[in-house]
């Protein structure tokens, strides 16, 4: 056990915190910082519910030691909408395509979807499906998820 001081950016704000070397980023977000948008579905890197961005890249926060984010920029679902609450087009597309039911996997799906679009893995539905397959949805909203990602990618490409 080791206590380590870390400083990082969380959703555009600076966080200074002493963390235990055993603590995952997910647990620090949820249990220390009351930032509970990222969900725990397995704690083993197998479901994607805890997906967040570190320096713009998607990671499963349950397998990311909190100490590793020192000096980095962490974005969670709470940091996706505009400051006035204006939804990101992908969030709106999730609503429009009803790409959710219970909503538990949804923050992770959206964080993955944003990265999937940025990575350019949206050539066709098959590619979207492949690159969104790290995010399980037990409610079975996959058709809507693909539609939301496709629609948003097309819109962004057209801009």
């Amino acid at each position: 056990m080791n206590s380590i001081k870390v400083s990082f950016r969380l959703n555009r704000k600076t966080v200074d915190l002493v963390v235990d070397s055993r603590e995952s980023l997910l647990d620090v977000l949820r249990e220390r910082l009351d930032t509970t948008g990222a969900k725990k579905g397995c704690d083993q890197g197998q479901c994607g519910a805890c997906t967040v961005h570190i320096d713009g890249r998607r990671v499963v926060s349950c397998l990311t030691p909190a100490v590793q984010v020192a000096g980095r920029e962490v974005t969670t679902i709470e940091g996706v909408a505009g400051p006035d609450g204006e939804l990101h087009p992908l969030q709106q597309a999730f609503i429009d395509n009803d790409a959710l039911q219970c909503g538990y996997c949804t923050p992770g799906q959206i964080m993955s979807g944003l990265a999937c679009i940025k990575e350019g893995h949206t050539t066709d539905d098959a590619e979207i499906r492949e690159y969104m397959s790290g995010n399980l949805c037990r409610c079975g909203c996959y058709v809507g998820v693909v539609a939301a990602v496709r629609e948003t990618a097309r819109k962004e490409a057209g801009r």
């Binding site: 969670t76 679902i77 009803d98 219970c102 538990y104 399980l136 079975g140």
Partner: protein, 751 residues
């Protein structure tokens, strides 16, 4: 911060009286919005922003974290638990190996829990993975590490985990559960013997796990003698009443808050056994405790779908009229509870077969008690039955859709009563048109894709009882500028199926209010007790009639006609209303209030009620790898009136995906040397992922069933899964000529 239940009840009575006195008729000012309300998911925004708080998203000041240690033998006696190292670990506040609580009682045996066995109350180990000690620490990582330091000595006993393992004990269900009798009509054995065309095969469905994405979790907080439980559950009243019995306190001291559940699928339908020891620990520590059951532990400390073996015998004449059916079942249960087998309730009524026989057996094995995973009986039961019907179609040389249509019935062959509504034939006709079924070439292996893959087209029908339960609704209307704000509390739980959206839409339609002005409270014992079990696909068909009754009551109280908006100028008005299933006595509300299951159906005094579905499935079997893909499915459902089209369509797709999972992926593996389940992670217990799913075309018949309730709704959440696995298996046969009679179907089955 606790609102006591007594206070709430007294308050309601007072406010209701006052509101009655305040009602004064005012003329209609034509101010409110009109037109049909839009269909949308009313809680979608909070779900895409991460603002929605599920149970384990509560972070209360001073929270301690609890983690259980588990048994590492398959069965036996616990001789000693060594907690020394755990107790000495930094941050640990409490380690419990025994708690003084009463066993909770089995849900199907007059109790409140998924099983009667309560860990930490005796030295008995009934299954691998059973909780043996509870560690509470200041942080989650401290509790997790300390729990791993706990060791135990055991006296192991021989085990039998799987349904066909030596040592599993088979009993006839009717001998041990006097209320469960085998469905019999006419004389099936002799009609079968005399039938010119016969099918007689056995089919196997494996044990499997629901794995809702939200882990099983609770946040437990005492405030003096009052206890608040935040837990994702489908049954807040069972948690409340069951826990009260376990702790020996009044249920009025406990509130259960489960406003949004992150998926449940039957696994959260009752009191879980992780809860009582945590409540004891929280009281002792004087701190709130959060417990999040790790994914692996949810495979052993919560319910699952039991394995079942089915023998189906079908007898038909050469024209395709089914003359006799026999459906015998062996279903797994635990040693400590008899989880009932109710497979034949549906297969006896799917067609108009007048000679029907069945025998259902229970097989006692060394597992936690199985339970009601989505379409618990109907999915495995129709995999067997609808596979057999497909086999019959080939034996007869008849088209499988035509065969099903020829055996449709308007009358329940078991009770002799009419169906409340039955559009199975419509679902088959509409589905076959959309799918392009007429293009199918009947011979197995006769259709190929351009890449050489084998194409198979399969069909199956399904149904699910249209159950109903008693419910209570409380409606409050308050003026809000030129319009009104309505708050409706109703008996029900939101697990993602969209009950909140369906309720809001009904209120919006009736009062001609905008959805933004409607707030729906479900799953909260403080809102309107009881919060009876939401399961068996009765949620919408139970909540909406209560809401409907509340709306009628409101109109009466305000002196309004049957339709139209509420004229402006009315003061705050509160009404309370109740509804129950056709034929249920008033006393059924008391049963629900005690947190006991109180659903009814499919047999009602004057009719039999089911929802119906048909699935048309295309599979492609890749020529070299033999990988089986499902590029498209056409599913058409008769669920009565569609209460919430938007959420309904998603529910259908979800159910189809569950069926594909059952058909091609899911099985909880067992190693008889060790016990328990050997693949208890989301990596090894394989559920469908995005890349597994192609097109799913949803059709909704949308014909109201006013026999069942005044809103015309029947259930949807489970019927949508029923028959999918059979349709996939039938498609695999059509593609390959291989009749696979077990699930899941894996590529080794079609090599």
């Amino acid at each position: 911060m606790n609102v006591s239940r007594r206070k709430f009840l007294a308050g309601t009575a007072a406010v209701t009286t006052a509101a009655t006195a305040a009602v004064v008729a005012t003329p209609h000012d034509g101010d409110a919005a009109s037109g049909p309300p839009p269909s949308r998911r009313v809680d979608a925004r909070e779900k895409v922003t991460g603002d929605l708080r599920y149970a384990s998203d509560r972070l209360l000041p001073g929270t301690a974290h609890a983690v259980y240690a588990v048994a590492t033998i398959g069965k036996g006696r616990l001789l000693e638990v060594n907690t020394k190292a755990a107790e000495a670990a930094p941050g640990v506040r409490l380690v419990l190996t025994r708690v003084d609580v009463k066993p909770p009682g089995f849900l199907q045996g007059g109790g409140h829990a998924f099983q009667s066995l309560q860990p930490l109350t005796s030295d008995r180990i009934a299954y691998r993975g059973q909780h043996i000690a509870l560690v509470v620490a200041d942080s989650l990582h401290a509790a997790t590490e300390a729990a791993a330091l706990i060791t135990a000595r055991y006296e192991a006993e021989p085990i039998a985990v799987e349904i066909d393992a030596p040592g599993a004990q088979k009993v006839r269900q009717s001998d041990v559960l006097p209320t469960a009798h085998d469905v019999v009509a006419g004389n099936a054995p002799s009609a079968f013997a005399a039938a010119p065309v016969k099918i007689d095969h056995e089919y196997e469905s494996p044990q499997s796990h629901p794995v809702p994405m939200e882990l099983i979790a609770s946040v437990v907080q005492w405030d003096g003698d009052d206890l608040t439980i935040y837990e994702g559950t489908q049954n807040a009243s069972a948690v409340q009443n069951g826990l009260a019995l376990q702790l020996g306190i009044s249920p009025e001291r406990i509130e259960v808050l489960s406003p949004s559940v992150g998926g449940a699928f039957g696994q959260k339908n009752s009191l879980q056994t992780h809860l009582a020891p945590v409540a004891v620990a929280a009281r002792r520590l004087g701190r709130p405790i959060k417990v999040v059951v790790p994914r692996t532990q949810t495979f052993h400390n919560a319910s699952f779908r039991p394995a079942s073996h089915h023998r189906i015998r079908l007898g038909a004449d050469r024209s395709g009229r089914m003359l006799a059916a026999m459906h015998d079942v062996d279903q797994q249960t635990s040693r400590h509870d008899y989880f009932p087998a109710v497979y034949t309730e549906l297969t006896s009524r799917l067609y108009g077969i007048t000679n029907y026989g069945s025998q259902q057996n229970l097989v006692r094995t060394d597992v936690q008690t199985p339970g009601f995973m989505r379409a618990p009986y109907e999915s495995p039961g129709t995999f067997a039955f609808e596979s057999a019907v497909d086999e019959l179609s080939y034996a007869l040389g008849k088209d499988p859709v035509a065969l099903r249509l020829a055996n449709d019935t308007a009358v329940d062959p078991i009770s002799g009563h009419p169906f409340s509504s039955r559009y199975l034939a419509d679902t088959l006709r509409r589905g076959s048109r959309k799918f392009g079924w007429s293009e199918r070439s009947a011979a197995p292996g006769s259709m190929r894709g351009r890449d050489g893959s084998l194409i198979g087209w399969g069909v199956a029908a399904g149904a699910y009882k249209a159950a109903t339960a008693p419910a209570t609704a409380r409606l409050r209307l308050i003026p809000a500028g030129r319009t009104y704000h309505a708050t409706i509390w109703v008996d029900g739980h939101e697990m993602g199926q969209g009950i909140r959206s369906a309720v809001a839409r009904l209120v919006a339609e009736d009062l001609q209010l905008r959805l933004e002005h409607i707030e729906v409270g479900v799953g909260d014992t403080r809102g309107v007790p009881p919060q009876h079990l939401t399961a068996g696909s009765w949620g919408t068909a139970t909540a909406l009639p209560a809401v409907y009754a509340a709306l009628k009551e409101l109109r009466k109280k305000l002196g309004l006609g049957a339709k139209g908006p509420v004229p402006s100028g009315r003061g705050e008005t509160i009404v309370l209303a109740r509804s129950r299933a056709p034929g249920q006595p008033e006393a059924i509300h008391d049963r629900a209030a005690q947190g006991l299951p109180a659903g009814a159906g499919p047999e009602y005094p004057e009719f039999t009620a089911f929802s119906f579905v048909s699935h048309f499935v295309e599979v492609r079997v890749e020529p070299t790898t033999r990988r089986i893909r499902v590029p498209r499915v056409v599913s058409t459902v008769d669920c009565g009136k569609v209460a919430s089209p938007r959420t309904a369509e998603s529910q259908v797709r979800g159910g189809v995906i569950w069926g594909i999972g059952a058909a091609l992926r899911e099985r909880s593996e067992v190693d008889e040397r060790f016990g328990g389940f050997a693949n208890p992670t989301l990596e090894e217990y394989v559920v469908p992922v995005n890349a597994d799913i192609g097109r799913i075309d949803v059709g909704l018949i949308d014909k109201p069933d006013f026999n069942l309730n005044p809103v015309g709704v029947k259930g949807l959440g489970e019927v949508v899964m029923v028959g999918v696995a059979a349709a996939v298996a039938n498609a695999v046969f059509h593609a390959t000529g291989r009749r696979v009679r077990h699930l899941p179907i894996r590529l080794e089955d079609v090599l």
